[in-house]
Amino acid sequence: MARAPKAPKAEELLDFDFSPPAADWMETPVDFKPGTFCYGAKGKNLDIMDLPNARDWSPTDEDWRLPAEWQGTIIEGLADRMKKYRSFRLFLDICVRCGACADKCHFYLGSGDPKNMPVLRAELLRSVYRRYFTRPGKLFGRLAGARDLTVDVLKEWWYYFFQCTECRRCSVFCPYGIDQAEITLMGRELLNLLGLNTDWIAGPVANCFMNGNHVGLEPQTIMSNVEFLLEDIETITGRHIEPSFNRKGAEILFVAPSGDLYAEPGTYTCMGYLMLFDQLGLDYTMSTYASEGGNFGFFTSNETAKRLNAKIYAEARRLGVKWILGGECGHMWRLVNQYMDTWNGPADFLEQPVSPVTGTKFTNAAATRMVHITEFTADLLYHNKIKVDKSRNDHLVITYHDSCNTARGMGLLEEPRYILRRICNNFVEMPEDTIREKTFCCGSGAGLNAGENMELRLRGGFPRANAVKYVREKHGVNVLANICALDRASLPALMDYWVPGVKVMGVHELLGNALVLDGEIERTLDLRSDDLPGKEEEAIV
């Protein structure tokens, strides 16, 4: 397999403008530019999931080794999905190409490639829909915006549907709410009918299916990872915490994105969760089986997503917990909010979530019975149930990045901000066109956070970084807070490249720093075991 190309210099990356090429887009064949796409899915990973046409292949291969009847498969698949999803069928029909979405996509804003305008990315598929399903398309062809489904078209689909992070920003501005994410989801489903996934998605899917989490951590490894974090907590705070895994009869099952269990800086966020739970004396447990809140299945197909998601309820039922608490993760929460109960519910074996600390009933989670940790923590802070020392975060100037999914697939906007305002003194917002429902994606969501497509990620992350740079120059921002594991995995590289000097921290890492534990030692270190400025001197004195 080819080595990942090195990312070009910033000036080279930014050497583009938004003027479209002279040639019509239908006459512009796809160019697989190294650094902008992921490796093809390995056969063994598709086999584990019983997905079709499992084989090893590379997108740069001339012959993708498609099944003989591949066109029929796609057309049938298209028809099937049009019946199953009104969103899809409707969005194929009603776009007027007004162009409001065009300059809203972070990949377009970072590359200038017109096929990254959401409207054109959708037209890649619409043109085929028209050709095979509409009368004008059948009769008039090109004149009606229709074209044949060829191998080149398929390759173009693959390239551009894996250049969309399903962030839904375009959908916010569309007068009909057309959501490119829906088109991309369907496009990827169709590609998966032919075994055309990326390995960065197929691998984690197979891992998650077999071992319970994306990297394939085995139960004893999860435990030792967490024990390692608990040792760090003891060093930093003097507090000894006992972990709890797969414990039956606990009140709450806590599910985090697995990134928080093993990879920096997510692990610091995990330390924040663990400290909070211990301080509250929460009766909770974590599962090594349902050890993944995230779901790369969603970037493959609806069925795959459901198969992976099923573990959460199954484990909650097995352990006999009352309700589920979920960690900081973006697409995990879109799925919990909009899909989980529909897929794998009803969760009638659980109880309506009630905070054991404040007695607050989480009525907005009455059916799904899963609460977002920032809802839980904001409630604690509002009722003053935990003590915090804001000054421990005084050396930080913090801005907050809304992750796409919690912003546009849920509307979780104020909870994390409330927490941040309660635990730090220096919180500033990025420009309003780049936050909340208009937030920019990290550029690596929906399974694009691989290494081999770093150039693409840097381009896609440019609009977000651009806004961070603005507040860094204006307010000296040095922390980009977030509530998403993919953000924590991808934004550090993005910041190092575009805005050096900005650290990426989960909200609960910052909470962990400020949280005053009963009987803790004087804090001189933050959760990263770095010196806490100001505090170390006091300690010396």
Binding site: Y176, I178, Q338, T342
Partner: protein, 331 residues
């Protein structure tokens, strides 16, 4: 250029009506038969298209949330941008349908050297809104030709639309605004490079057809006047299903050009992107409440899937789990 096929098509339609009535005197065809067929196509095609959409399931509750969710009681919910009840959804939909709320959010993003800049971009919203409202008022105004006696609200609308009292017959404000708005919408497709790049014949054609229909109406009112009484006799004949033989009514060719272009628009409607008029009501990202965590949403085609059960997992890792001291279901 993708404009020319659309331009030629629109021009051909004008010429067709002109020749049909002006040269061949097919008044009944253009004044009665085609309008009936066009209207029938419109209604049947519209219903068919909506039924097609309606027969597709809404498996998941996927509103695009554009504001704060309903959550803890002390956090203010943005009820119109993130509705959690049917009434709030109704409010959101009214904003979308009547005021184009989402388009009003539009911002322009520019690359300024190594930075991106954001600017206001309300022109598309304004142009779209002005066109659609003008269109609605014009349609309602035309009811004066289909109702007898003309109801007071229609008379009122007529008076309001012509309250400037310019010229004789009076100038309609919406005649001006619709032409301006359509011209703007057309020109931006021609002039703005990125919009030109994404535009297709199917985008230019309806604009040109609408523009031609509007202009033919304006020409008829101001330049090639026709006997309005005869026109109303014809239109009343249509809506009472007793069409008069229009050959006996002396109405100028311009009227037949106008009614033919409008007929074409009606007939074209259900087969085209103009169906966004019906589609906007069905858009799952806008017409659903964001309450799927509180109220279960059922997917009609939900089916059982193969999962990797805990028992299989324990089987797979039993020894390792035992060593790590994890509780086991079966020893």
């Amino acid at each position: 250029m993708k404009i020319w096929p659309s331009f030629l098509a629109a021009l051909a339609l004008v010429l067709l009506a002109w020749a049909g009535v002006g040269l061949f005197h097919w008044q009944t065809l253009f004044g009665v038969v085609i309008p009936y067929l066009a209207f029938l196509t419109f209604v049947a095609g519209f219903i068919r298209r909506v039924v097609l959409w309606g027969r597709s399931a809404v498996p998941f509750r996927i509103p695009t949330t554009c504001g704060q969710q309903k959550t803890l009681p002390w956090i203010k919910q943005d009820k119109l941008e993130n509705p959690s009840s049917p009434w709030q959804v109704l409010g959101r939909m009214c904003l979308e349908v009547f005021l184009f709320r989402s388009l009003f959010r539009n911002i322009r993003t520019e690359k300024r050297g190594a930075a991106l800049g954001f600017g206001s971009a309300k022109w598309l919203w304004l142009g779209g809104l002005v066109f659609h409202w003008s269109m609605l008022i014009i349609l309602l105004r035309h009811l004066r030709l289909f109702l007898n006696p003309v109801p007071a609200p229609i008379r009122g609308l007529e008076a309001l639309d012509s309250f400037l009292q310019i010229g004789a017959p009076l100038l309609y404000i919406t005649d001006l605004t619709i032409v301006f708005a359509l011209t703007y919408l057309f020109l931006r497709r021609v002039v703005v490079p990125s919009v030109r790049y994404i535009s297709q014949p199917a985008d230019y054609f309806p604009l040109l057809l609408l523009l031609a229909a509007a202009l033919s109406g304006i020409l008829m009112r101001w330049f090639f006047r026709v006997d309005i009484r005869a026109v109303k006799e014809l239109t009343m004949g249509l809506v009472t299903f007793h069409p008069l033989p229009p050959g006996q009514l002396s109405i100028g060719v311009i009227f037949y050009i106008h009614i033919f272009l409008v007929s074409c628009l009606f007939a074209y409607f259900p087969w085209s992107k103009l169906m966004h008029a019906g589609g906007v009501f069905l858009s799952p990202t806008r017409n659903m409440s964001n309450n799927s965590r509180a109220v279960r949403h059922v997917n009609p085609w939900n089916y059982p899937v193969k999962t990797h059960a805990y028992a299989e997992y324990e089987e797979q890792f039993r020894e390792k789990m035992r060593k790590a001291g994890l509780p086991l279901e079966t020893e």
